[in-house]
């Protein structure tokens, strides 16, 4: 950005700061200023035009240092843009793409892109057809996600949403996707923990962490998800699949509400501005599966949202549900029962994920879901101390083992094929006499072997590929286990 005097003489317009509130500055003058234009203050701060009133211009300040009343301001004639590029991979940056680690400088800029762009139109989009493996078997089988899907991750505080997102990102980074984690207005310590998690899993070089902390300027926090998606669009145009995590949009909505109220805009429901739906919808609409030069590339967006006391009917939460392609609901009850991840499959939805599954996986998902409904019903009776039939006991044991299996991979990702294989084996009743605790060890061994033994992995992959339905899967899994004695 050039100097204040340069813009003053080039554009020939001047404004004066009339009022200053936290993060928003009111300016008089600048007669031909345009919406979203970048404003430069005499004291060095920058901002972006948020609202244009007839007598005053509201400017969103990007600096923590407040502007003084009477300070001169100039238009720059430019819309807000950020530098983008692969040089940011492995770095912790703020929404303006400045390094947050002083010891970790980033090589100088390349391309720059506008922050607010129109979402691609329907003719530039392609159907979501490729499954996005999260490494969490419960999700990959029961509530599958696809590359280009926008899936809301919703739940109470401390129900494992972030842990699920971290594991998904690690798995996707290992599978070659470019990953962007946007931390919106959280504590600095949380940002550090996220960075350390990725570094410990040796995937940091494939991830960009774009963070704004709660003590940053409100303007900067507001920009975070937009910057993350802008960066994702750069990699998409290079033909790469991108996974973006927005953690979280309820906090973003609160900061936007603060800005709007400070700007004296008329408040709507729960004091949120009337355009809050548009604000989030326009952002999430930038995700999807797109047609690019050499085929297709996707931007998968996983926005997180927090609910209070399991109330899913909040304003922002229902808005987000209606603008995403489904949601994974993290249940407080499931969490307290020890389920990890604490996803409630009955209250979770995936709208485009199922079309990415193979017929076998779709059948398995259907069978499992109806079994879990039955298990839930049956386990309700047990509380009454009723006498149980053999059939009921079998359902309970199988149900417990299935849930234990879903609990298995809370600390490391499980490839989907080995998950299908083990579920087939579990469904075949081959190990029905084996205790739950013993099975857990066997499952772990199989998963480790699948990850480390190339031949074993190849055989399981071909077994899954050749199985046309569950019956075939069960038979083949039993024969295979007999042969290998895993």
């Amino acid at each position: 950005m050039k100097s204040f005097e340069y813009y003053l003489n080039k554009i020939g317009e001047i404004g004066y700061v009339e009022r200053v509130t936290k993060g928003v500055v009111g300016i008089s003058g600048l007669p031909t200023a345009e919406a979203e234009e970048v404003i430069l203050f005499e004291s060095g701060q920058t901002g972006q035009i948020l609202f244009l009133h007839s007598d005053i211009i509201e400017v969103l300040l990007f600096d923590e240092v407040p502007v003084k009343s009477g300070t001169r301001a100039v238009r720059t004639g430019e819309r807000l843009s950020i530098p983008v590029g692969g040089q940011y991979l492995g770095h912790l940056i703020n929404p303006l793409c400045q390094a947050l680690n002083q010891t970790d400088p980033i090589k100088k800029l390349g391309e720059t892109r506008f922050l607010n762009t129109d979402p691609p139109r329907i003719n530039e989009r392609s159907p979501v057809l490729k499954q996005l493996e999260t490494g969490v078997i419960l999700v990959d089988v029961l509530i599958p996600l696809g590359h280009g899907q926008r899936e809301l991750i919703i739940g109470d505080r401390k129900t494992g949403k972030t842990t699920f997102l971290l594991h998904t990102m690690v798995n996707q980074a290992r599978m070659g996707s470019v990953c962007i984690w946007a931390v919106i207005g959280k504590k600095r310590s949380e940002v550090k923990q996220i960075e350390e998690f990725f570094a410990n899993n040796k995937v940091l070089d494939k991830i960009i962490i774009m963070a704004s902390s709660a003590d940053d300027a409100t303007g900067l926090i507001y920009l975070t998800p937009y910057s993350a998606v802008t960066m994702a669009e750069y990699f998409r145009d290079l033909g790469q699949n991108v996974l973006v995590v927005l953690d979280d949009l309820t906090i973003h909505a609160k900061f936007y509400r603060e800005l709007s109220l400070l700007s004296e805009r008329f408040p709507g429901r729960e004091s949120y501005p009337v355009d809050i739906f548009f604000t989030h919808a326009a952002l999430l609409e930038r995700g999807g599966n797109f047609i690019v030069k050499n085929g297709t590339a996707s931007i998968t967006i996983l926005p997180a949202a927090e609910v209070s006391e399991e109330d899913l009917s909040g304003y922002i939460q229902t808005n987000l549900m209606s603008m995403t392609d489904g949601h994974l609901y993290f249940d407080k009850d499931s969490f307290s029962k020890g389920r990890r991840p604490a996803i409630n499959p009955f209250l979770s939805v995936t709208r485009v994920g199922r079309q990415t599954q193979t017929p076998l996986l779709r059948e398995l998902s259907r069978v499992l879901m109806s079994f879990l409904v039955e298990y839930q019903k049956v386990s309700g009776f047990v509380h009454f101390g009723a006498e149980l039939t053999e059939e009921t006991k079998r359902t309970l044991t199988k149900g417990e083992k299935t849930l234990e299996f879903f609990n298995l991979n809370s600390d490391s990702p499980t490839p989907v094929n080995v998950g299908i294989f083990l579920l087939g084996l579990l469904w075949s009743d081959y190990q029905k006499e084996v205790q739950k605790e013993t099975m857990e060890g066997e499952w772990r061994e199989t998963i480790d072997k699948y990850i480390n033994d190339k031949n074993f992995r190849g055989e399981i992959d071909s077994l899954i590929e050749k199985s046309k339905n569950i019956q075939e899967l069960k038979e083949k899994a039993v024969i295979f286990t007999d042969r290998y004695k895993v």
Partner: protein
């Protein structure tokens, strides 16, 4: 209303005087003293109308290199009222670094018509020639 005030400073003084008068008008035993300019303006109308009219005046910022005499300021002020806007007043700032000329800003528009700016542009334009001249001398 015929204003004999041309600068923002004068208007601010008048407004301060009106505020002071308004504050003290109900104090017992206190005599209200009007300045000649205010008493002239307030003739035939209330202080409130004068205050309203003064608040409606628009400001033209003028940055000059030297302090201007009141007579010269009045001359500029009158010219502005006749040629541009009846309700304009001047906000004069002195900045010797502009050398000569003036910087004018009005209604958010800004024009640097100073000699300082001209000199800067001249130097940028002629820097190559100056450099050549120095190099020739070596």
């Amino acid at each position: 209303m015929d204003y004999n005030v041309f600068t923002k400073n004068e208007v601010d003084l008048l407004l301060a005087e009106i505020e002071d008068l308004e504050r003290n008008k109900f104090c017992p035993g206190r005599r209200l003293a009007f300045s000649p300019e205010l008493s002239r303006l307030a003739q035939g109308q209330g202080l409130a109308s004068v205050k309203k009219a003064l608040a409606e005046l628009v400001v033209l910022d003028l940055t000059v290199a030297v302090k201007l005499s009141p007579a010269f300021l009045a001359k500029i002020g009158r010219w502005l009222r006749e040629e541009i806007n009846q309700k304009v007043i001047l906000d004069i700032k002195v900045d010797p670094s502009i050398i000569a000329g003036a910087i004018v800003s009005y209604g958010g528009k800004y024009r640097d018509l100073s000699a300082g700016r001209g000199l800067e542009e001249w130097f940028t334009r002629e820097s190559t020639r100056i450099q050549t001249l120095i190099n020739e001398d070596r």
